[in-house]
Symmetry: C2
Subunit: 764 residues, 2 copies
C-alpha cells in the first residue's frame, strides 16, 4: 500500500490547505508546505516556520478583569523564513511562479516512508522558456536543528542564464484573522532581528521575541555549488540575507543544489547561539545529501516497523490513517520544553498552545507505537509542575497542583475561564496518562522520578477542591467537563470519575514507592510534606466519590443538573447554525441539554470499570441524541464506544468521519493547521475501538472485531518495551513479537503468551 | 435640624472624596466639587463635569470573544470644564491656591435647602496679601442647562490690582485608574473640540465624541462685571476660551461676579447647538442672581415638604439621611435618555452605566417622595424596550425583551456575562417597578402608554426562557441572581419568584386593559402579536413556577445547588481579604456557600407574600451567616428584614452601617462617586424597614416600629398623588395629609382614612 500523499491541484483553497497537509516537522521544527517561490500577492497563504514552544508573551485584554485572570498569554511565533528560493530565467530575469506563464505539469507528494516532501513542475515562461523544477524538502528526524531543501532546475528547451536567489528572511509576522476566534487575533509582529551577518559561505540571523526575550537564530548555507552555480553576491540588510547564484543553463542539464538551514533557540541551546549553530554546521558539513536521506529513511523504517497500521479493504482510509500517524510523529515535542500543540507544528491555530488532548487523544497512540515519545510528553508536564502548584495557590487552594488549560511555558493562557481554567479535569487527565504509561511500560524508575510527584500533587488538589457532604459522599463543585456546551457545574461525572482514578492511584503509588525504594520514599515525603494521614484522605475521597446517577434513565448524569434542563431543539436548528458555538451565546447553550462532544461517554471509555455495561449502553444512547460533535474530539470516542457496545456498523460510520477530516478539509479550517487530537483519535478508533484495546492494572486487553468493510487489519502495540504486531482477520487474531522480551496479553479475557519467533493465533 | 453639610479639612484624601460628596447636579448636569483654582499638580483629583447619558462608544476587548458578546460599550464622558477660575494678586500676579501661601480660615458647605455649595477661605499670599474668597456654585433645578458660579474676592489688608482668569476648557479627559476594575480602564481622551468661539461677551465651545458622534456644547458668560471689573481680554484657541478681567482691589471692598454656563447636547437639544444655547442665554439674561437663588430655594422647599425624613435622637444619622436623599434628587435623570447611574452624576465609577439598582433601590424612594421622577425613570426603560427586544433575539430567544445588565443607550455593556447578561432578573426588576408604580399611583394612562408593553414583553421572555418539567413545575435555568458570588445557576429563588410576579401581573394587566380600553387593547394585541392563548401561558408558568425549598432547613434554597456546596471558611479568611472578589478567582467564590449580598432575602423583602413568616425567618438566619455584604446593596436589605422580623436592634445596626457610607468613606472609594443604591437603601431602611411600608395590590401598608435610640421619626409617602406625612413616636403613629385628595392607608392591618386638615393618630 502507498506511502505517498499526492496532490496536483493549483486552486487557491487547496494550496492553503496543503500548506498544513504537507507541513514537515520533527517535534522541534515545523515548516508549512509553502511554495519556495511564493504564489504571488493576492493568493491567501499562511507562510510559517515554527520552533515548538518558542514563544512570545502578550497581554490578554479584558472588558472586566477579575482576580487571578491571567494577565498574559504565550503565543508560538512564526520564526525566520528560510523557505524562500526564487528562480529567474534568462537576461530578462523571468520569475518562475505559478501566477505567470504556464504550468504544464504539476504534482506534489508527501513521502511518509522517506520523510520528505517533493514538488515537481514543468513550467513555461511567458517568453516561452520551459523548465522542469523539483523541490525536495525535509525536516530531519535525526538532526533536530535541520530543515533542508534540495532544488533542481532543468532547462527543457533553451540555453540561457539561470539566476537563483535564496533568501533568509527575518521580517516575519504571525498570521492574523480578526474574524475567527480560533485563530490568533492580533499581535502579528513580535519577533525582531538582532543580528544579520554572513559568515564564510553562510548567512546568520538572530531574532528576539519582544516581551519574552527568548531568542532564536538560523544559520543557512548551500551545498552542491560548483563551477556550474556561481556565487554572485551575499547581501545582508537589517532584516534578511540574500544569496544570489548564477549559471549558464543548458538544455536537459539539471542545475542542482541544496540549502541547509540550522535552527537554534535559547530554550534548548545554551550559550551563544551563533557558536552553537556553527558547531552544528560543522557536524552537518561531513554529511552529504545522500547520507542525510538515508538516515531519514532508516529512522522511519524503524518507526513504521513498530507502529504501522494496515487496513486491507479501503485505500482511502489506509491513506488517512498513515497520514495521521505520520503527522503525529512530526509534531510531538521531544524535550521538557515542548509538547504537542493543538495543531501540531503545522499551523498557528490556538496559538501553539498545549491542551488536555495530548494526554487523552495522543499519548495513547505513542504509548503503543513509540513509548519513548510518550515519555517525553509526560516529562514536559512534570517540568511545568511547579507552575501548576503556583496556579493552584493563585486559584485559592491550600495545596496541590492545578495544570493550566492551555499553555506553552506552564502558565495559564485561557482567558475565558468557564471553558478554560474551570476544566480542572486536565489535572486528572495528566495523572491518567502517567498511570497508563506505568501500566503499559512498568517503568518504575520513571514512576519514581516523575510520575509519583505528579500523581500525588494532583490528588492533593482534588482533596482540597472537593468536600465531604452530610451523606458521606465526596463532591466536586464548580468545574467544567470536556463538554464545553455545559460549563461550571457540580459533580461532572467525567471529572469526578477521573479524579477518583487519580486519587486511587495516588494512594496505590504512594504505597508502592514505600516498597520499591524506602530511601526515596522518605526524601519524597519530606520534600512534599506529604504523610500517611493525608494520603489516607486520598483513599477516603476516592471511595466516597459521588458519581451522579439517574435511576429513571439508568444512566450516569453528566452533572447534578444536566438532566433537569430542557433538551435542545435540534429539529428547528438549521444546519448552517452548526457549530453552535459560532451562532449562540454561551448562556443559551448552557441552558439546554446539548453537548459539543463526548463527556460522560468519554469517561465510560477511559474508565469502563466504573460503570456496568448496561449503564454504559444507556448512557451512550442517551448522550448520542444530544451531542452535536461540534468538537473534532467527539466522533472518535463515539466510534470506540459503538464498537465496544457491539454496533460495529455505527462504529465504522463515526470512524469514517474522523479519518480524513484534514485530508478532505471537512471542518473547513485545515489551513489553520491539522487537528492533531482527531488524528490520534483515528488511530484509537481502530486499536481501542475495533480491536478493543484497554490498558489495565493486570496488563493489556484486546477484544478484536473486524468491520465488515475490511478484509483484515493490523497494528502494533507496545507492552513492557516489546512491540507486538496484531493482525485481525475475519475470525482470527494473530500476535507476533516484533522484538524484545516475550510478553503476555489478554485477548477476550484469555491470557496469551507472545513469544519470539512464534505467532500466536486464536479465534475470537 | 441642620440642612448643611460642612467640612474644613484640606487633607488630600478628604479633598478628593469631597469632590464626590459636594457634587452638584440636577439629573442632567453633574459637576464634581472640584476647586475652581485647582489644587496644584501633585494632588490626586478627578475633575469632572458630566451630562447624564452623554457618552461615547468604545470597543470591549476580549481574550476569547464568543457569540453575542457585546463588541462595544458606552462610556459617560467628562465634558467641557467651566469650573476653572483663577485669582491673581498684585502686579506680581501671585496665584491664589491652597498649595501656596497660608490658608488662615477655610470651610465648605453644602446647603441642601438652598441647593448650592459654598466655599470660604481666608488666604495669605507668600508676599503677605490677605484675601477673603467665597465661591458659591449651583446646578439649577429650574433651569436644566445651567451651572452657575458666584465669586467674591475681598482684599483684607491691601490695595492692589486683582486679576481674574475664568476658563472654559475643552481639553478634557476621563479619569483612568488601570489598577481598579470598578473604574474605567482606559479610553481617556474621547471628546474633541469642534468649535471654539467668542460671541459678544460669551464664549462658546462645541465638542464631539469620537465614535458615537454625539455632540455637546457650552456657552459661558459672566454677570456683575461693571466699572470695577474690566474686561481685559477674551482669547480662544482651539481647545479653550480664556476670559481675563482686572480691577484695582481695595481693602475690605468685595469684588464680585458670577459665571453662567449653559450646557446643551444633541440628545436633547434638537437643531443647531449654538443657536439653542444662545436662546437659553437669552432667557437667563432676564434673571438676576437673586431670582436664580430664590427659584432654587423654592424648588427645594417643595421637594422637602413632600419628602423630608426627620429623626429625633441622632444628628449624625439625620445628616446622612438628608444627604442621601438630596443626592438622589440631584442624580435622577428626567428624560427618556437618562436614568440614575450607579454613582449618580457624582463620578465616573462604573462608567456612567445604569443597572438594576435603579428599580430596586431608588425608584421606591422617588415613588414615595416625588412620583413624577419615578415615572421619568420608568419612561427611560420604556425608551430602550426595542433594544431589549433585539438583545433577546441576539441571545437566542424567539420573543420577549431582555434588558441589558448595564447600559446607557440601551445596548448591553457588560463584558463579563456571568455577573452581567446572566442576571436576567433585571427584566423582572423593571417589571416589578412598573407594577409598584401602578399600585402606588393607580395611574392607568401610564399603565396603558408604557407599563403594559414592558410587562407583556418581559413576561414573554420568561416563558421563552423557562421550561415545564416532567413534574409539571416551571423551571428557569442558567441565570445569575443578585448575589454575584454564585453565578449561572438553575432556579435561582430570587429570579424565579420575581419572574412569577412579572408573569402574574402581565396576565392581570392584560385582562385589565381589555376592560379599561377595548380599542387600545386591540391595537396593542395587534402590534405585539400577542393573544389570549399566549397570555394564558403567562398564567400557567406563574402558577407552576418552581421555587426551590429545602425541607430540612425550612428555607428557600438560593438555587438548585447552593445548599449542596461547602460553606465558605469564614473563620480562616483574613479581614484584609474582603471584599472577597478582589482576592479570589470567581471559580473559588462560586464553589462555596458565600453571598456577596442579599439574594433570597431580598426576594423575601420584595415579595413577602410568596413565603410564610417562618420560612422567611429561617432564610434570614441562614443566609445572614453566609453573606459578606461585600456589595453596598446588602446591609440595607438585612436591616429591613431584621426590622420586619422583630429584631429592631439588629435592624438598627445594619442601618447605621449604610447611612454614612459615603460621608464617612467606609468603602474607601467615595472618590469614584457616591453609592446611589445604598443612598436609596438608607431611606428604605427607615420607611420600609422601621416603618414597615409595603406597596400591595390593595394599597399601602405600614407596620411602624421605633428604634430605641430615637425619640421619634417622620417621613413622607405618596399614595394616588397625595403626599402623607407619617410620624412615629414611642407608642403612636400619626398620619397627616400634606396636600391632595384624602386617601386610605393600612396600618398594622387596619384601614385608616387620612383626611384633609385632620391628623389621624393611632397606637401601634
Amino acid at each position: 500500500m502507498s506511502w505517498k500523499i499526492a496532490r496536483d491541484s493549483l486552486k487557491e483553497i487547496d494550496l492553503v490547505n496543503e500548506e498544513s497537509l504537507f507541513f514537515l516537522g520533527n517535534g522541534y521544527i515545523g515548516v508549512r508546505g509553502n511554495f519556495e517561490e511564493s504564489y504571488g500577492r493576492a493568493v491567501p497563504t499562511v507562510r510559517g516556520t515554527y520552533l515548538n514552544a518558542f514563544h512570545d508573551v502578550i497581554d490578554i485584554p479584558y472588558g472586566e478583569k477579575l482576580f487571578a485572570f491571567p494577565e498574559t498569554q504565550q503565543k508560538m511565533l512564526n520564526v525566520i523564513d528560510t523557505q524562500t528560493i526564487h528562480i529567474y530565467l534568462g537576461d530578462e530575469k523571468e520569475h518562475f511562479s505559478i501566477q505567470e506563464g504556464e504550468v504544464k505539469e504539476y504534482t506534489r507528494k508527501l513521502h511518509m516512508d522517506e520523510g520528505k516532501a517533493e514538488r515537481n513542475i514543468r513550467w513555461k515562461s511567458p517568453l516561452g522558456k520551459e523548465i522542469d523544477v523539483c523541490f525536495e524538502r525535509m525536516v530531519s528526524f535525526v538532526h533536530r536543528e535541520l530543515f533542508y531543501i534540495k532544488v533542481s532546475v532543468t532547462p527543457v528547451n533553451f540555453n540561457d542564464v539561470i539566476t537563483i536567489v535564496s533568501i533568509m528572511d527575518g521580517d516575519v509576522e504571525n498570521f492574523v484573522d480578526a474574524s475567527d476566534p480560533r485563530v490568533g487575533g492580533g499581535h502579528a509582529k513580535l519577533l525582531h532581528v538582532q543580528e544579520a551577518d554572513t559568515i564564510e559561505e553562510s548567512g546568520f540571523l538572530r531574532s528576539r521575541a519582544e516581551s519574552s526575550g527568548l531568542e532564536m537564530a538560523c544559520l543557512s548555507f548551500h551545498k552542491g555549488l560548483d563551477d556550474k552555480l556561481v556565487d554572485i553576491s551575499k547581501e545582508a540588510d537589517d532584516q534578511r540575507i540574500i544569496f544570489t547564484y548564477q549559471t549558464q543553463g543548458r538544455q536537459e542539464q539539471p542545475v542542482e543544489f541544496s540549502k541547509w538551514n540550522i535552527y537554534v533557540d535559547d530554550l534548548r541551546h545554551s550559550g551563544e547561539l551563533k557558536q552553537k549553530a556553527q558547531r552544528i554546521r560543522g557536524q552537518l558539513e561531513t554529511i552529504d545529501d545522500f547520507q542525510l536521506a538515508k538516515a531519514q529513511r532508516k529512522y522511519l523504517e524503524t518507526f513504521w516497523e513498530r507502529s504501522d497500521v494496515e487496513v486491507d479493504g479501503d485505500d482511502d482510509l489506509q491513506e488517512g490513517i498513515r497520514f495521521n500517524l505520520y503527522h503525529l510523529l512530526q509534531s510531538a515535542g521531544r524535550d521538557k520544553y515542548s509538547n504537542i500543540t493543538a495543531k501540531g507544528l503545522s499551523g498557528e491555530g490556538y496559538e501553539g498552545h498545549y491542551f488536555w488532548d495530548t494526554e487523552i487523544y495522543m499519548v495513547p497512540v505513542f504509548l503503543m507505537t513509540a513509548p519513548d515519545l510518550a515519555k517525553q510528553l509526560l516529562i514536559y508536564r512534570h517540568s511545568i509542575l511547579d507552575k501548576a502548584r503556583e496556579r493552584a495557590v493563585e486559584m485559592g487552594h491550600r495545596r496541590g497542583a492545578l495544570f493550566p488549560w492551555r499553555t506553552i511555558n506552564g502558565k495559564e493562557c485561557s482567558s475565558y475561564f468557564p471553558a478554560g481554567t474551570a476544566q480542572y479535569h486536565i489535572s486528572a487527565d495528566i495523572a491518567y496518562s502517567y498511570i497508563q504509561y506505568f501500566l503499559a511500560t512498568r517503568d518504575e524508575s520513571f514512576l519514581l522520578d516523575y510520575g509519583a510527584e505528579v500523581l500525588l500533587e494532583t490528588a492533593r488538589l482534588w482533596v482540597d477542591m472537593g468536600h465531604f457532604r452530610k451523606d458521606g459522599t465526596f463532591a466536586i463543585d464548580n468545574v467544567t467537563g470536556p463538554d464545553e456546551y455545559t460549563c461550571v457545574v457540580n459533580n461532572n461525572y467525567y471529572t469526578n470519575s477521573m479524579a477518583k482514578y487519580n486519587l486511587e492511584w495516588a494512594y496505590k503509588i504512594y504505597q508502592m514507592i514505600k516498597e520499591i525504594d524506602g530511601n526515596y520514599f522518605e526524601i519524597l515525603s519530606e520534600r512534599l510534606n506529604l504523610w500517611d494521614k493525608e494520603v489516607e484522605s486520598f483513599k477516603r475521597a476516592a471511595e466516597a466519590m459521588y458519581l451522579p446517577y439517574d435511576e429513571e434513565l439508568g444512566i450516569h448524569a453528566q452533572d447534578d443538573t444536566f438532566l433537569q434542563k430542557a433538551v435542545w431543539d435540534f429539529e428547528n436548528t438549521p444546519k448552517e447554525h452548526y457549530p453552535l458555538l459560532l451562532h449562540y451565546h454561551p448562556l443559551t447553550l448552557y441552558r439546554y441539554q446539548v453537548c459539543k462532544q463526548a463527556d460522560t461517554v468519554l469517561s465510560h471509555f477511559l474508565l469502563e470499570d466504573y460503570a456496568d455495561e448496561e449503564t454504559i449502553h444507556n448512557s451512550y444512547n442517551y448522550y448520542e441524541r444530544v451531542t452535536t460533535h461540534d468538537s473534532s474530539l467527539s466522533t472518535c470516542v463515539f466510534s470506540m464506544m459503538a464498537s465496544k457496545l457491539g454496533d460495529l456498523e455505527k462504529g465504522y460510520q463515526y470512524f469514517q468521519g474522523t479519518t480524513r477530516l484534514d485530508l478532505d478539509n471537512t471542518h473547513n479550517n485545515t489551513k489553520d493547521g491539522l487537528h492533531m487530537a482527531n488524528m490520534g483519535g483515528t488511530w484509537m478508533a481502530i486499536v481501542y475501538g475495533f480491536a478493543g484495546l484497554r490498558v489495565k492494572e493486570n496488563g493489556l486487553h484486546l477484544d478484536p472485531k473486524l468491520p465488515k468493510q475490511w478484509n483484515s487489519y493490523s497494528f502494533h502495540i507496545h507492552y513492557k518495551g516489546s512491540p507486538v504486531k496484531v493482525k485481525v482477520t475475519d475470525e482470527k487474531v494473530s500476535l507476533t513479537l516484533v522484538e524484545g522480551e516475550q510478553v503476555s496479553l489478554w485477548v477476550n479475557g484469555e491470557e496469551i503468551q507472545v513469544k519470539r519467533n512464534e505467532q500466536a493465533t486464536l479465534s475470537y
